[in-house]
């Protein structure tokens, strides 16, 4: 492998690794957002569970 070939490989690797790092960071962010959505859904379910007996009483 010549010196020029090594540098060209390095340049293309830098671009590839940067895009890969970006995708990993976005994937990590998506995982965090998924966790937060699940947490909020749990909170809404808990609030509904607290409120539902009263709703049933009103209906009866």
């Amino acid at each position: 492998m010549t010196n020029a070939e090594k540098y060209v490989t390095a340049a293309y690797l830098v671009v590839f690794l940067a895009v890969l790092l970006y995708v990993v960071l976005i994937a990590a962010k998506l995982a965090r957002l998924e966790r937060e959505v699940a947490e909020l859904a749990d909170r809404v379910r808990a609030q509904q569970a607290k409120g539902s007996p009263r709703e049933e009483e009103v209906e009866v």
């Binding site: 020029a4 340049a11 293309y12 830098v14 671009v15 895009v19 970006y22 957002l33 937060e36 809404v44």
Partner: protein
């Protein structure tokens, strides 16, 4: 968005294949030998042009925020500038690698185009310091938009620096009469440019979707608190 990401992946793969299997190895008349390092040009120049496009898009969104108060324009401007800074880092890195082979130095301070691109890059890097030093709200959005607009002035200066400079060490790709490339080289360059612009657009859309979702979740959390 998945279609855009798939198109970007296809174009980037095609561009890499064209660079290494289709475009001829450039002949360097100075050393009278094939110049393999020229292959960096196919990604380095489109990355630099993509960085300019991202900064320009960020400035345009900033302008729309200030002029028409377009909803979401501030966030779009921020994401575009973030993309521009990422592509700016890649421009500096790939350019430095090429400079090391061609000139024997990682960086040459006497080259106007290099220094002006660095100034542009640092100007937009400072955008984040300004943005995150202010409390969220209309004030921060206005200040960020004004800053993004000021920076756009540096783009034509950086672009034209090579033509204004007396020391022409940095290669000139586009002259006033047109591109300084032959058919197969120009085709490969165009595909690479399309690939990187599409990649930037796909990353922009993904990051923007994430930021919008983040904002909506914050609102939802506040409503539920």
């Amino acid at each position: 968005m998945p279609a855009l990401a798939a198109l970007a992946a296809a174009l980037v793969s095609t561009a890499v294949a064209l660079v290494f299997f289709y475009a001829p190895v450039n002949y360097d008349p100075d050393v009278r030998a094939p110049d393999f390092s020229q292959k960096i040009f196919y990604f380095h120049v489109p990355i630099a042009l993509t960085a300019y496009a991202c900064f320009g898009w960020g400035a345009l969104k900033g302008f729309l925020h200030l002029w028409k108060r377009t909803p979401g324009a501030d966030l779009e401007s921020y994401v575009a500038i973030h993309q521009g800074v990422i592509f700016g880092v890649l421009t500096l890195l790939t350019g430095s690698i090429w400079a090391k082979i061609a000139w024997g130095h990682w960086w040459i301070w006497s080259e106007d185009q290099l220094v002006l691109f660095l100034v542009l890059f640092m100007f937009y890097s400072a955008y984040f310091m300004l943005r995150f030093s202010l409390p969220p709200g209309p004030g921060r959005a206005n200040m960020s938009a004004v800053y993004a607009l000021f920076g756009v002035v540096l783009i034509p200066v950086s672009w034209l620096a090579i033509h204004l400079s007396q020391q022409l060490i940095h290669p000139v790709v586009f002259r006033l009469k047109g591109p300084d490339m032959s058919g197969s080289i120009f085709l490969t360059f165009c595909v690479s440019l399309a690939a990187l612009l599409t990649l930037a657009a796909a990353l922009y859309r993904i990051e923007l979707a994430g930021k919008r979702l983040d904002e909506r979740l914050r609102e939802l959390r506040e409503l539920l608190a």
